[in-house]
Point group: C2
Chain length 397, copies 2
């Protein structure tokens, strides 16, 4: 295409983009508001967990020694001096011959070194008969068994799920330091949009603003400003200026029309790159505007979606030091040819455990995005993939 | 365990649970608020997409016939009668010998049946030279090529992602009918919780309320009430009564202590089942209270998490008619023995494409949840899994 003096291979484009990294700060958030946030620091445990030796079974806390005299038909007799449930602490120490009835989770009374399960005892009043020998430590969760004070329990870069939050909450942590949400603005450019409810000849419904804003939400960004402007240099300049003060990153769609009107080079001094050997999504550009990184994206929703996966997500992942998309190596179900010289982004479904490319894959085929479960990449040097070959599959958000 | 007269196999427990389904309504939501919601009806397209024949390339809209006279060294000459970009409509018809300059996405002018790429033309003023033959329909996206009016474009049960929303927005859809969010309340019971900031002997930090509420959020439920109450029948009764009026479903943790005090049977007339042959998570119970389904869950966070995956998620999936968790068949990296007679929920990591069970897997080991990427299930009749065997892996939320 004429507007691109030079098409860059994807890997090189990625490298150039990432050498202009996004800068974001950090903030402290309560665990209630931390789902999906990314840790900026390791979290260390402020306590041992469990914080004390505790019963791992319902039964009786005894001294193991006391059970050693047991022989078949000759139960050992002990005296029950207390009964405690989880959360209670016995004020009595277990001396030889004594037992404390104990429920799972309760703190081990002093002197006791094991818990004999109820099933191996019989009780009548305060008299307990042991029907088994039991070794020391049996059925006791010892202090710090799961986690020691000072252990690194969550690593910087962890994207927090409910299970991570539950873990650190169980250690007494209430807040964590996370990466600030990158502030992103979106400018959708084009004269082709029908922004009314009525049908307008030659116009189409605009969907990029909704798609990009919801994708940005999903990857933990803070969408600051979203504007839909016609292909008019002045109006685009105004929208950029308005976004600039409040954004860490700017996404502009409709970059293809920039080519025709040579608008891109009026709007931006210099591109880090413009045009990448990928299909779809070739007319992607990266530039800086007063230090603010700007992504010049396609107006076609499919191409913009591909560019989001291939550029925006890795850029945010790198800024946050995390991984957002899930990947797995899976077999491909059918042959899939691909042209040399460009990397192909192939929308695929998972069918019976196999990756199956979607047939209709033109970049105007937005239906294909809705049908697919994710994508594979076929690189510039590969002519295609054969059935049964294992390939890295990336799940869509 | 004494409290369970009968342990049910997991598959049977699931069946009994699902034969008491959750009832939820439907509601209409704007696309802006529809991410993560589940369609209750199929969505049909109100238009053809594209809505008109349009240029798929930048170039000239011509009559293909006009190019047929081309021979090497003998370009065909046409007259450019108009130039249009996307969103513009030409008022001129393309008659024999005429051409309209056209940009990708613009509506095809009347009379033209193909677009010749700029690369195969040379233009001087209004005179255009064609350097190639071109067949009819070339570089034209025909009306309805992606989607026809009336096509079912999204199926009931779809959990809406940004790409689904973009697709239907591009078709002019603004709102969709989705399943109402199930209203769920949580009651955490137990005397063992330290609810202060100070250390309290024999007590632990409560994490189930945070974990369950955030898990419920993540699967699209509406958390209505969350209470932490001591192991006191009256207080639990009060909490249940308070939740009952406003909830479709109730989760109660601390079910194990119910066993000891025989509280469960005072609180609930009758269990659909109580106790399942799974590890961890055995003391799970299901009952109805005035028609409201109640899940009796473990107090141990790991067991409660497992029960959430094995019962709450399938229950909500069934109510919504959707699939929430992602699964893939992957090879297991190491041998993993398992006892017969119970289904084991094994927390695993993915290491270099292989599933690797986490070693420390006691149900008090909440660290293991944070370390794992997901789980495998080893059923009651399997003694273990051998290295290299393919197994269904389920990704955690």
């Amino acid at each position: 295409m004429r507007e691109f003096k030079e098409l860059l291979p994807y890997s090189e484009a990625l490298e150039r983009m990432l050498s202009n990294p996004l800068e974001t700060g950090v903030e402290n958030v309560g665990l209630e508001n931390a789902v999906g946030r990314v840790l900026s620091d390791d979290v260390s445990s402020p306590i041992d967990s469990p914080p004390f030796d505790r019963a791992a079974m319902d039964g009786y806390a005894i001294r193991a020694e006391d059970s050693f005299g047991y022989r078949e038909g000759h139960p050992v007799e002990l005296r029950v001096i207390d009964d405690i449930t989880a959360g209670q602490v016995s004020s009595k120490a277990v001396s030889p011959g004594a037992a404390v009835g104990i429920m799972t989770g309760a703190k081990m009374p002093e002197g006791a070194d094991c818990v004999i399960m109820q099933e191996f005892t019989s009780r009548s009043g305060d008299t307990l008969k042991l029907m088994s020998k039991i070794p020391p430590s049996k059925n006791v969760s010892v202090r710090g068994e799961d986690t020691h004070l000072g252990d690194k329990v969550l690593m910087s870069g962890t994207r927090l799920s409910p299970r991570h939050l539950a873990y650190v909450r169980s250690l007494g942590v209430d807040a964590v330091t996370v990466k600030a949400r990158p502030k992103v603005s979106i400018i959708v450019t084009g004269d082709e949009f029908n922004l009314t409810k009525k049908s307008e000849e030659g116009k189409i419904f605009e969907s990029n603003s909704l798609m990009l804003s919801k994708l940005l939400d999903a990857i933990g960004c803070d969408v600051r400003e979203m504007s839909i402007v016609p292909d008019d240099e002045g109006k685009i300049q105004d929208a950029i200026a308005s976004a600039a003060g409040k954004s860490d990153l700017l996404l502009i769609t409709g970059g293809s029309s920039f080519g025709k009107k040579d608008m891109a080079h009026k709007l931006f001094d210099k591109f880090v790159f413009h045009g990448v050997t990928i299909k779809p999504g070739r007319p992607f550009g990266f530039t800086l505007r007063g230090g603010m990184p700007c992504f010049i994206m396609s107006g076609y929703p499919v191409a913009a979606y591909v560019q989001f996966c291939l550029f925006v997500i890795p850029y945010i992942e790198s800024a946050m030091g995390t991984t957002i998309l899930k990947r797995a190596f899976l077999p491909i179900g059918v042959e899939r040819p691909s042209a040399l010289g460009r990397m192909e982004f192939v929308r695929c479904r998972i069918v019976a455990g196999n990756v199956e490319p979607i047939r209709s894959s033109g970049s105007s085929m937005i239906s294909s995005l809705a049908m697919a479960d994710g994508y594979i990449l076929i690189d510039e040097l590969t002519e295609g993939i054969n059935p049964g070959e294992m390939i890295e599959f990336t799940y869509f958000l």
